[in-house]
Symmetry: C2
Subunit: 600 residues, 2 copies
């Protein structure tokens, strides 16, 4: 089997960079230790190896079908969902009380990484887990009792049903309506589009966590409520009745073909019922809990696909002979060398490794923060929360935008072969492309970062971030090999602050259009610098290990390669900030159109 | 029908930027004038509209098949090839004597652009034209008489058969052999892979222009000869006999599915004959004539697909309502605006337009140079030749590398819809990705640019280029609106020279590995600056038209948009050179491995 992730690297991040053992000192996580974490990752790897990775091509080649209103998916989905349910992995991060294992998100994120790297076309369980989490957090006891166990066992599917034909990035324009009934339920009417795993035959029921406007609710985002809308509703006697949710269309997508994306119509027969979750008109804020997790999950999908692509192209580069060294071009008698020895191939591989491991580190940083939010209180909790909120749009965007490029370089390493279906790169290239679009496009994430996260509470979130980074800088300063990189990062932080100062006055003047005009470039700049921090952090951990453990053999290579890749990131990726900052401080306005017809 | 290219822009480039009428002053082109050019483009557009564009999706969905050694392609290929043959478009650029129309390459390039933008999966005729051109230029009178007419009429297919399983980027390792026979033919044995249009049922014969090593020839590139190897050979009585070229494999590709890519085996029965073209052992230099054209052709494919994607996303952005202006977020009563009014969408569209029209301009510059090489003599010819040689790897790389990103931004404009098969973007995204790989990968082009074109004849080629650019700068200096951009470009030229000076010493020391280590980044830098020159050139032409023609309505918009897009390019794209130059001058070596195992 080709390698698709590095367990060694996960262990490095878990234990040496993010010290997961510090979390187990909190009572909430005290049932866990290094062994239970290893067991979870072993059991996840087993499922990934047996139920997912072998079907990577097959789920792409045998797409879901919609016939006579029924959606059939690849036959492997059912045993996979059951295996995940039986292993207790669908809600592993939930509290014991809610049917989970109280597993830290830091470890849960590693599990998601492994599963997604094995086969990103089988994303069903993450959706189920998110839906169950919403019911657990905001639902009544009755809703919990009715739905959660079935969801976590893998017998029922959960979904996030937000998007409508006219309401994609603009959720305030949702029109699906709910009309209160005497029995406490609501009559639901409307349409939802792009609903992932929105219907299929590997489960017995599908539970939609749906955004709906209750009749008479205020306009805009303040009139949106969250509902449970099942495919089959549960009658008083426990039996299931068809709930008038119809699959009216199946999208044919470029990639991630294993998971069906559906167009759903609710209430064609006037008999679709939904049950309110939490209070009326607060649905969007509830959903955002799930969306923030989902955004980090999508970032993880980007990192995971890029990981699988990296190892596939690394293997190819180690095996494929072609040409001779540039300094030995004319030695025709000598055999061809393997292409990993060509500097430009090495560069492409280092780029991939730098993106994959830098992204993963950022995602685990976010996961650790969400654990700390969970177990801390008061001001500490608020600070962790602010930091997590700030990192979330970056953790969604950097791994996906750069992941797309990373997989593309992976394909380039294989040359013409990479473009054929004989190698997995072409599928990974198709699969990863959606990640910069769903769960909020890069534009939306960028506006969230600059327009919201940088400014709320008087800019406290970036202050907290810079304090965190300062800790890493001070550690790095104590190592001669790392000090130059700490100095580089300090300069880059100054650059980010400069740019931010140049932009903030527009917000203060109320000109948000000008303020956010180049938000996507601001995101790119901020992402590069944030991941430079993650690389320095990894560099510190690697250097410490070299000094204290005196590693040999593969272990020595592992740490050497970590430091080498950190250097690659600083020497090749970080300089891109120069051009971005220049543009961001440039005052020429070219993308804000006057009211008349836009000139193109 | 959705627009897939802009005829107005082609006319602008042809007449206002590149003054095609200057070419018709040369006797070789004197049969042509503005009217004949318009007629050619009209007739090309008709074929593109009727025979190609309507089948864009269909040729992707109904791929070629290989069964029992026979390759079947989409039924539309046959009428398309006949129509191209009948219109005299396959060899339109050939001399009258060789069956062509002596059409300037500048116009021929526009024709290729239109055809490819309409449907890049139907690239058969460019291959045929290249093969016929090689026979015309280097073949005997007998070979010409046997093959050229049938090729140009669209009844026979031509191919370029270079790549072998062990010889992709490294052509010196070709092993297909030719053994001289008494009748003057050669017995051919070997295998070729990735042969585009290498066999199919829309033609009666396939003529391979094949690189072969004659038994006993010197090693390496100096022992490679060019052969005509037909699928059916022509007997003395004019009848056709199976020539033992077997289709042993058909590649399943991510895109460009309309054109089959084949694995061919020659001489399975020991009965495959080939005929030498030109002198023995000079095949690679002959093939390079065709390859240089093909490289520019691939650049054109990149620009053309990016063009079709640009217009598709522009149309969507003009029609799709979503959200409100950032400064009017809370005005929920107001209707949604079309997304073209959102700055980030406008930015993505301007990026696409800047890449498409900048690339096209560079490609037409190259085409004009190839016309000038054709009609000039002595030192003038040599200078044009040097300039064309310098621009060729850039004209292959910029439009393809940036084209990939441009199509990706096009998909992003459509959001989730762009990822579905309901819109053409997903296919364009798949189609364009091969262009940075075939006809020499970006790595190969970059090593050619820095390692060869920058240094031959004491660096005369870049000197000539800077002289050409200087002409544009001096023109731009005379317009107040353009002078700042001329100054910017001057600074960028200085940056390129700086970087070049920093790298050349490695070449002088004979350390080509270090010299070329980051050649791909050097290419990126050089490409950005070269296209900045093309944009300034277009800016000058547009400004002149504004001053002299006093344009109104659509015409005024056209020129305004040209200048606006030029500004976009300078303000958003050009700053990227800062980071590239910083990396290229950085002395840290990270991609040259020592002799021991490469650390990854």
């Amino acid at each position: 089997m080709t390698q698709y992730f590095s367990r060694r690297n996960l262990d490095f991040l878990l234990h040496e960079v993010f010290s997961v053992s510090e979390l187990t000192r909190y009572p909430y996580f005290e049932a866990h230790d290094k062994e239970t974490f290893a067991m979870v990752l072993d059991s996840v790897t087993q499922i990934a190896d047996n139920h997912m990775y072998p079907y990577f091509r097959d789920v792409d080649r045998n797409q879901p079908e919609l016939r006579d209103g029924k959606v059939t998916v690849h036959p492997q989905m059912k045993p996979f969902l059951r295996a995940m349910g039986e292993a207790g992995l669908i809600g592993a991060g939930f509290s014991f009380e809610n049917g989970g294992q109280q597993l830290p998100e830091l470890v849960n994120a590693c599990a998601g990484y492994i599963l997604t790297a094995a086969n990103n076309g089988m994303m069903y369980t993450a959706l189920t887990s998110g839906a169950a989490n919403l019911i657990n957090t905001f639902g009544t006891l009755e809703l919990k009792q009715q739905y959660v166990e079935k969801l976590l066992s893998g017998h029922w599917q959960g979904t996030m049903a937000l998007t409508e034909p006219q309401a994609g990035s603009s959720l305030s324009d949702i029109t699906t309506t709910g009309e209160p009934q005497e029995d406490g339920s609501y009559l639901i009417r409307g349409q939802k589009v792009f609903i992932s795993a929105g219907d299929h035959d590997a489960v017995d029921n599908v539970i939609h966590l749906m955004l709906v406007r209750i009749k008479g609710a205020p306009r805009g985002t303040k009139g949106i409520s969250l509902f449970v809308v099942p495919k089959y509703r549960i009658e008083a006697d426990g039996s299931l009745t068809d709930n008038d949710v119809t699959s009216t269309g199946l999208y044919h997508k470029m990639g991630q073909k294993g998971t069906p994306a559906l167009h759903l119509t609710m209430g064609e027969r006037g008999d679709c019922r939904g049950w309110l979750v939490g209070e009326p008109n607060r649905g969007l804020s509830y959903m955002f809990q799930m969306m923030n997790e989902a955004r980090i999950g999508v970032g993880m999908t980007g990192a995971a696909i890029a990981s699988a692509a990296y190892y596939a192209s690394l293997q190819y580069a180690r095996e494929r002979p072609q040409s001779r060294r540039l300094n030995e071009k004319n030695q025709l008698d000598s055999p061809q060398i393997t292409i990993i020895h060509h500097p430009d191939v090495k560069r492409m591989l280092l780029f991939q490794k730098a993106i994959v491991e830098g992204s993963l580190s950022l995602l685990m940083e976010s996961a650790r923060l969400s654990d700390l939010v969970h177990v801390s209180e008061g001001e500490e909790k608020e600070n962790y929360s602010l930091l997590l909120d700030l990192l979330t749009p970056i953790a969604k965007t950097f791994p996906t935008e750069m992941g797309v490029r990373s997989v593309s370089e992976g394909m380039q390493v294989l040359g013409g072969y990479g473009y054929t279906e004989d190698f997995p790169l072409e599928q990974m290239y198709r699969d990863i492309r959606i990640t910069t679009i769903y769960e909020g496009t890069t534009t939306i994430q960028s506006q969230d970062l600059l327009g919201r996260k940088m400014t709320i509470k008087g800019g406290k979130a970036p202050q907290l971030l810079f304090q965190e980074i300062e800790k890493t800088l001070r550690e790095a300063d104590t190592h001669d090999e790392l000090k130059p990189y700490a100095d580089l990062l300090r300069k880059e932080l100054g650059r980010v602050q400069d740019v931010t100062m140049a932009l903030l006055p527009y917000a203060q003047q109320g000109d948000f259009e000008r303020f956010l005009m180049d938000a996507t470039l601001y995101m790119e700049l901020f992402g590069i610098v944030t991941v430079a921090w993650q690389w320095l952090k990894q560099g510190v951990a690697a250097r410490k290990a070299q000094l204290t453990q005196n590693p040999e053999g593969d272990e020595a290579t592992f740490y050497e390669s970590k430091l080498h890749t950190m250097k690659y990131y600083f020497h090749y990726e970080v300089p891109k900030t120069k051009g971005l900052a220049a543009r961001l401080k440039d005052t020429e306005v070219l993308t804000i159109a006057s009211d008349r017809e836009v000139v193109m």
